[in-house]
Each structure stands twice: as C-alpha cells, then as structure tokens.
C-alpha cells in the first residue's frame, strides 16, 4: 500500500486537491446536499450504507464476471476461427466490426425483454461489450509470431497443434490480456447501463432508485462503489497477468533497475 502511495503520489495529490476544492466550494456557496453533497458527506453515506452497497455491488460483480466469462470465451473462439480460417475471416470479421456500430445501449432494453430483469440480461450486455476488444487483441496476438519462428518449428516437423501450443498461444497472451483489461472496465459500464434499464438489484439499479428519491449522496456513494469495484477488478486482472506473464514482468523489472542504476 505504501509502495502504491509512493508510485502514484502525483495522482493522489491531484485527487486530494480536487476533493478539497469540491468540499470548500459546496460549503462556501451553500449548495444544498440534494443537489451536490460534499465529499465528506458522500464518504459518511458510503460507510453508513456499506451493507446495502455491498449487497448491490455483489450483484454487479456477478454480472461483470459472467459477462467477462461469456464474452471472453466467445471472443477466444471467434479469434481462433478468424485466425485459422481465411474464408470464415472474410465472412465474420466485417460483421463483427459492423456490429460495433450498433450502440449496445440501444439494444439493452431488448435484452431486458428477452432475458428478463435478472442476471442474464446484464451479463449479456457486458459480454457483448467485452468480446470485441478480446477478439481484436487475440487475433493480433495470434498473428504476432514471426514467419521465421514458424519456419523453425516447421523445420523440426512440429504439427499445427504443437505450433499453437508452443508458440502461438504463449505469444498471444500479452495482447489477450490487453484485451481483457480494456474489456473489464467496459463491462462494468455495460452492466451498470443494463441495470439502469431494468433490474431488481445492482449498483445501477440503486443509482436510479436513489436519484428518483433525490438521495444524491447515495448516488455518489454508488458511483464511488462502482469505481472501487472497477479498480479492484482491474487490479486483480493485473496480478493474474503478472503471474501468467512472469517472464515479461521480470524482464521489465530488470530493465527499470538497470535504468535506475
């Protein structure tokens, strides 16, 4: 934690300054709390409503996790199809790109009609948002292997499966993780939007409800929870990434050490 503080000192200072200005500004101009609550009030509401926020938050996490799982698995399968079959690539890739022109938020109400008010409509929204960056990055990763490396393996009589397992899969992991990292932040947005449109539970649902009741402080507390949730998911993914890509982590650490010396 101390290391984190040290690494991001600038960011923390800037954030503190922003919150301070906010606090002072609201108090100075006597802005009513149902329009814009002070950061200190938001924090108070956040802590006094922790059970409520975590119960709604756990629903949102579940939706994001399911969305990542479905979108991720679908993305990997599509990436493999696109990579290994040029004719299917020509058929599928343009459609995938075109599908990104459809605003997901516009079809979210339909998804609620089809999949109901529960977990699955939100997981579907998240999955639809997540799969695109995963497909694009995974395909790039699979293509990142040099022709010479493939030549080397072919000269050793390696089968296509061996080439995939020994070279393509490990080579594609760095960009696959980039796709996941983009995806996970987007999927939190996706799940929240889904909850706005129709849900019985979740942070997005809580925000809409609180907003209607003019409990702006609770809206802000929900936003705070959402950001923390996003940060937590991103951080967890980074830890997994650093473990899976140990080789890269170590090489990078050594490089910075060398520069510092």
């Amino acid at each position: 934690m101390l290391k984190l503080l040290k690494e991001y000192t600038g960011a923390f200072l800037l954030l503190a300054l922003f919150l301070l200005l906010w606090e002072v500004g609201v108090r100075l101009f006597n802005v009513p709390f149902y329009i814009l609550p002070t950061p200190s009030r938001i924090l108070l509401v956040f802590f006094s409503n922790l059970p409520l926020l975590s119960s709604h938050g756990s629903m949102t996490i579940l939706e994001v996790a399911m969305g990542m799982l479905i979108g991720g698995a679908g993305g990997i399968v599509l990436a493999l199809i696109i990579f290994y079959s040029p004719s299917l690539e020509r058929a599928v890739y343009p459609l995938i790109i075109a599908s990104q022109m459809i605003p997901i938020f516009a079809i979210a109400p339909l998804l609620v009609v089809w999949f109901g008010y529960g977990l699955w409509s939100k997981a579907t929204v998240a999955a639809l948002i997540v799969f695109f960056p995963i497909v694009v990055n995974a395909v790039d990763g699979l293509r990142s292997v040099s022709g010479e490396t493939i030549d080397l393996l072919r000269s050793l009589h390696a089968s296509e499966w061996q080439i995939f397992r020994v070279v393509r899969l490990p080579a594609s992991l760095p960009s696959f993780f980039s796709g996941l990292k983009i995806g996970i932040t987007l999927s939190v947005v996706g799940a929240t939007i889904g909850e706005w449109i129709g849900a019985k539970k979740g942070l997005g649902y809580l925000m809409i409800q609180s907003n209607a009741l003019l409990r702006i402080d609770l809206v802000f507390a929900s936003i705070l929870t959402l950001s923390l949730l996003g940060l937590f998911l991103f951080g967890a993914l980074r830890i997994i990434e650093q473990h899976v890509l140990r080789w890269r982590t170590r090489v990078e650490v050594n490089k910075t050490l060398r520069v510092k010396q």
């Binding site: 030549d151 080397l152 992991l173 080789w247």
Partner: protein, 259 residues
C-alpha cells in the same frame, strides 16, 4: 548417392534446384539449377552477393519451400529432408517466454524425447558454450552474443545430422564473431555434424569451411566452387588464405556489378 568415385558418403545434395517467385504477375527466377553436394561430416559454405537467393536456397534444403524443379537428395535417397536437418533462421528466433534452458531443449520437446535427458545434455552444452549459470534467464536478459550462442545450442540439440545455418553470426560485432567462429569450429569437430553455412563474410567462409560454393547474382547458380585444404585452426593472416580471400572477393564484386 555415394555411388561412384567418392569414398566419403554424401549427407545431403541439391540437384538442379530452380525457384521462381511471383512478383506482380511475373515469375522472377531466383534460383537457376543450383546443384551442391555436401559430404557427411564436412563443412560447406554458401556465399554470394546479397539478395542472390541464399536464404531461399537454404529454406528449400530445409524442406520449408518447394523448388519449382530439381530435388533434394539425402543419404537415404529422395525424401523429405526434415528429420535429417536442423535449420537455424537468420534471426535467433528465441521464444521470449521460455528460459534459456527451455529454449535450448525446444526440439527435444517437439520430438517427444525425455525431458530430463535433454536438459542434462543442454546443460553440458551451456558449459561448453560459456553459458553456464545463465540457464534460468530469459532471452531478453542475455546479450546479443549469448542469444546467438543459445540459438546455436538449440540447433545442435535438435539431434539432426545436417545443420543449416543462415548467417548465424551476421548480427554480431567483429570480436564476438571471431570468438564464436572458434567455438563453432571446435564444437563441430567434437560432434561430427555436417554443416551448411550461409554467410556474406568471405573470411568466415575460408576460416571454417571444407568447401565454399560461390553463388552468382540473381538468378543464382553456382558460379564457382573452392575446396579449402588449409589445416585448421586457420590463421586469418596466413598468406594463402588472404590470397584466396582476394580471389573470392573479386568474383563477388564482379557478380554484384553484373546484377
């Protein structure tokens, strides 16, 4: 293959290899009936002006490209040369996520040979190549010379009879290069493999080879062949060696000028 007068058997031979590359609808000839015999356990070198098709020829020898005409013959007759050859591409092609040791044992893994045995063998070669202690490092943590040595170890550990090396020392500075030439020579003498080396360095060719095949400018054919009979280890400054170097360089320059 070994029929006729030759007493030492031929390890691998190229017979009238021709290759065209399609460029904007046209067929550009790259190789024009290139024939080369390589004796078992010998060191053959291909040299020629840059862009003459040396790498293309090596890839055909490695079975990675099909010739448009001609064939590759191995000591067991005509067949897929893979299984007999180990190919080392121009760049080191080390896998960045594998440790040095795991890179070295790549071929054993592909062939499904026992892991522990391969690792033990690799460790011995690491010591031989001055890489002992670096087994657990990743390629990015090694210097250029070390990476190239590692790629050579990987090639030696492929357990193939014939090694095809595409400018293995091309990217190194002169000093590292000279050291690695000595190393390569001593390992070759010890392991008794057949080597076909592609290089653009005439001195390197003369220092190392039994036979030098000089290719012409594109479309490449064998312009001239030299048998190098000076005893090894050879001195870079010995007079006959310098003379031969001059002769080959003159021919290459003439070829490059023709191109």
């Amino acid at each position: 293959m070994a029929r006729g007068i030759s007493v030492i058997p031929i390890a691998i031979a190229a017979e009238a290899i021709s290759k065209f590359f399609p460029v904007t609808g046209e067929r550009i000839p790259v190789l024009d009936r290139v024939s080369i015999d390589i004796r078992s356990g010998s060191w053959a070198t291909i040299i020629g002006p840059s862009g003459c098709g040396k790498t293309t020829f090596l890839k055909i020898m490695a079975g990675l490209l099909q010739p448009d005409s001609g064939r590759i013959l191995a000591d067991v007759g005509e067949r897929d040369p893979r299984g007999l050859i180990a190919y080392m591409p121009q760049s080191d092609t080390l896998l960045p996520w594998r440790t040095a040791l795991d890179n070295a044992t790549l071929a054993s893994e592909i062939d499904g040979r026992p892991r522990e045995e391969a690792r033990a063998k690799a460790k011995r070669l690491f010591a031989r190549f001055g890489l002992a202690g670096f087994e657990a490092l990743y390629p990015a943590e090694l210097s250029g010379g070390m990476r190239q040595r590692l790629a050579l170890i990987r090639t030696f550990l492929a357990h193939r009879e014939v090694l095809l090396l595409d400018e293995p020392l091309g990217s190194l500075d002169a000093l590292t290069r000279a050291t690695l030439q000595d190393w390569l020579l001593s390992v070759w003498e010890e392991l008794g493999k057949t080597i076909l080396l592609v290089t653009h360095d005439v001195e390197e060719a003369i220092l190392l080879s039994d036979r030098i095949h000089l290719l012409s400018a594109r479309p490449a054919h064998v312009r001239k062949e030299f048998t190098v009979e000076f005893p090894r280890p050879r001195s870079r400054t010995a007079e006959p060696l310098v003379k031969l170097k001059g002769e080959i360089l003159d021919l290459i320059h003439a070829e490059a000028f023709n191109a």
